[in-house]
Amino acid sequence: MAPKPITSPVPDSWYPTLSVFTLAIGLVLTASFFIYEATSSRKTRSLVQELATGAVASVFLGFGSLFLLIACGVYV
């Protein structure tokens, strides 16, 4: 069996675009999270919704910042 070159999971040139989009989605979700925090009162707030928004936002922000680091040349 001949050696197979190992490539990155995503082509290098995609990282900047990917980071812009994932970060945009992440920031929109973060904004909605904080809007919800600020507008709902303590009685009417639902913990599940807060956690769900926070989790989805952090997934997008996490991957977005990773792609941003890679696009900047910090290959982690």
């Binding site: 925090e37 009417t44 928004t53 989790a55 952090s58 996490g62 890679i70």
Partner: protein
Amino acid sequence: MKRDMMRSNLFPLLFAFAFLFSPVFSASDLILAKVDRRIDLTSQIVRIATSLKVENTGSDVVSEILLSFPENHAKHLAYLKAIVSEGKGKAKTSSGVGLPVKAVQPNDVPPALTIYSVSLPKGLGKEHSLTLDVLAVFTHILQPFPEKINQGDVQLLLFQESAHYLSPYAVKAQSLTLKLPDARIESYSKLENAKLQGSELKYGPYENIPPFSYLPIVIHYENNLPFAVAKELVREIEISHWGNVQITEHYDIIHAGAQSKGEFSRLDYQTRPYLRGASAFRRLVAKLPPRAHSVYYRDEIGNISTSSLWGDSKKTELEIEPRYPMFGGWKTTFTIGYGLPLQDFLFGLDGKRFLNISFGAPIYELVIDTLFVKVVLPEGSKDISVSAPFPVKEWQETKISHLDIVGRPVVVLEKNNVVPEHNEHFQVYYKFNSLSMLREPFMLISGFFFLFIACIVYSHADISISKSSASYLAKLQWDEVQATTQLIHGIISRCLTAHDKLEASLHDLSRTGDVQACKATRKSVDSSLKELSKELKQPLTFLQSCPQAAQILPKVEELVTKERELQEKLVVKHTTVVDGYEKKSSGREIENRIASYQQKITALRREVDDLMDFIDEI
């Protein structure tokens, strides 16, 4: 003093060899039928290419051939490679793979000689011959003479060799060619058979020379080529499975030629750099692999702007200029770094991954005294092993870098006296689970998630100190009032949706004339409205009982009454229209009948909407 030392180096050696002629070493039955030596003296690295035609005159099969070097050469030996080429003339084939070479010390050889033994792939039988090509590379063997020169002087070098091939075997015919740089030759040993043709100096041919024959020659010549020596070079190769192999090289370079003495005049150097700074070098060229990107060249102060880069599909060339011209004995330190595409250097084989990359430095004709190659593998790599084409010292470290928890495993390889011939590929094998790649994003995700959790905890936590103070209680009540108001808002908006449903059913009726469906909708809307008005009762009583709500209560009550009114009017309108349809009244008649209601409904609806907006803002 140094000069004396050099002389005293030369001559004891001669005496040592004089007594060697006594047959202390019982040479085997091998003889060297023909020896051709070519010595390349054009750079600071001395390369001696020797072609030996070995014949076995005895009856035993011989499986190893000895190569000998005098002590003053052996201690500078950096690289030794022996290749067997079989056949004769143009049909010669050579495998290109070096034969195993090891240092040996036979009992009957004086310690002033260093012997290397070359193992032949198959024994050399009686009356057989083979051709052995030996390449020996030496560093720091050229002695600058004089040792100290001024800025304007040229650099003169001294090289000592033997005109006869120093060998434990008898040599039938031999010749020696020295390739010198295109410059002045100060002097050379004028032996009988010496001949100077242009920049080539020839000794020989000599015939029937006994073993261990040593005929010293000395060549004194001009050489102004760069004597760039890296005292220490640390090459760090960092693999990222996200698509990059990052190489960082820390150089500590010295001009190892004749020492500069006296003062340095920048003016003289600038006006006539090739005359008043002939021995200095001002630039170095590095040949980087193709597709190298993000190249930088800096030192402790910062970026050094005097560099240029160009490339094609085969290579990338980087020309760097140190901050000052390098004269003899001057030092400089700098760092170059570049990224390489992952797929060119990292491969997968049988579940293992391996890095295949060149060992030495990319700078042309650079001698490295101590080379450290550090291969930084991604976090989570296991079963690490190294395969290098020559012996190296090897150990492991860990390095903490971006987004690491336990640190990345680092394989460190150390080698002394490295020449460009060592730029061969070596391999680092390791095992890596692709899921480990998700560690870094997972760390970032959990970081952000903790931030959100902190916000949630902060907004849920009750952090007031005095739980019984009036203001705290008032705040609690106000929260409750707010929540109740929101609840009422929600109920009313559901009522309004129900109203919309009624309107829609009327619209459908005018379109389809289906009275039954309209009635069914009416029934369901009626029941849901009843339900909603029941729901409204409890929060409304709470608001009425609460002193905090006094301010907003009139508005809420107004909203509730207006909504009731609107509801009644709508119901009446609905009944009227449905009745009209049942009695088969004309469209115009029905419209006339509901016209007055319609006006009021529109007005009420607007008022209710305004009130809703007002309450929403509380």
